[in-house]
């Protein structure tokens, strides 16, 4: 598996969990402490820390070292990679098939003119 696919795989596994997605959505608004992140969830601190470790391994968050409360920050890089890949694939097919649809209509107009339609 290439390093890129490996990274993408780690990102996707990390995103598969609703709690982790909620943590990321919260961090999109700005950095937070682990205590702050735990607040909206009915979860123990160790459970939240476990989710954060998964996100950290996937490169989606980083922990600050400067302050004692070690703020958690979002790292959007891997998210953009996933988004880019998926969007490229989807765009490719959506746009190709839209073009085919238009082209088929043009062909059928041509067929009518030539009275070749069944």
């Amino acid at each position: 598996m290439s390093a890129q696919a490996d990274q993408l795989s780690a990102t996707f596994s990390a995103l598969a969990d609703p709690t982790r997605r909620a943590i990321l959505a919260r961090l999109a608004k700005g950095q937070a402490s682990v205590t702050e992140l735990a607040q909206p969830f009915d979860m123990t601190m160790p459970a939240i820390s476990k989710h954060l470790k998964v996100l950290e391994r996937a490169g989606l968050v980083e922990r600050g070292r400067e302050a004692q409360w070690r703020p958690v920050r979002l790292d959007a890089g891997p998210l953009k990679d996933v988004d880019d890949w998926v969007e490229r694939y989807r765009r490719f097919w959506e746009q190709s098939l839209d073009r085919l649809d238009t082209y088929l209509r043009e062909l059928q107009k041509g067929d009518k003119r030539n009275a070749r339609r069944k």
């Binding site: 795989s9 995103l15 999109a28 988004d83 998926v86 959506e94 746009q95 073009r99 088929l104």
Partner: protein, 162 residues
């Protein structure tokens, strides 16, 4: 086959950790869709995202025959190639598909395209099976809960807030 809908939309489904399905209805008889999908002079008119064009479009439509498409891109041509394994005109084609990038060149996907006609309209369906989950790249997460599309929709929402 989903119920025909006059609003033409392309549907994507991840059917397993290494399998994708793309489908769509076309307001055209099956023979015409088949022509448009298998003849280079037609394929050149639609294959690839808007604004792109094919620099190579070779189709040798017979069992064992090869195909090769190259799309012009600012970073150089992007090439896709493969071999036809089954042909059942105008209903079905099975072929291999190699995406010519270092990670995927030697790992073809198996592509089955089927066309079904109903009331003069055609249902197009492509099933793409990759050799291994990692070759599906974006769809690699096995054990993903809540489904592929849901995760992607949430991901898209999330990315928009960044």
């Amino acid at each position: 086959m989903p119920v025909g809908n006059s609003a033409a939309t392309t549907t994507f489904t991840q059917t397993s950790d290494r399998e994708l399905e793309v489908s769509r209805w076309f307001d055209a008889p099956r023979e015409l869709v088949w022509e448009a999908m298998t003849k280079p002079e037609h394929v050149r008119n639609w294959w690839g995202p808007r604004g792109t064009s094919l620099t190579v479009c070779e189709i040798d439509l017979r069992v064992g025959g090869k195909w090769r498409f190259a799309l012009a891109s600012p970073e150089g041509d992007v090439t896709f190639f493969g071999k036809y394994l089954e042909i059942d005109e105008p209903a079905r084609v099975v072929n291999t598909e190699h995406y010519d990038v270092p990670e995927l060149r030697d790992h073809p996907a198996m592509v089955t395209m089927t066309l079904t006609e109903k009331d003069g309209r055609t249902f197009y369906q492509v099933n793409e099976i990759f050799e291994a989950a990692e070759h599906l790249q974006g769809a690699v997460a096995s054990g993903m809960e809540g489904g592929w599309r849901e995760t992607l929709d949430r991901l898209n929402d999330l990315v928009k807030t960044l």
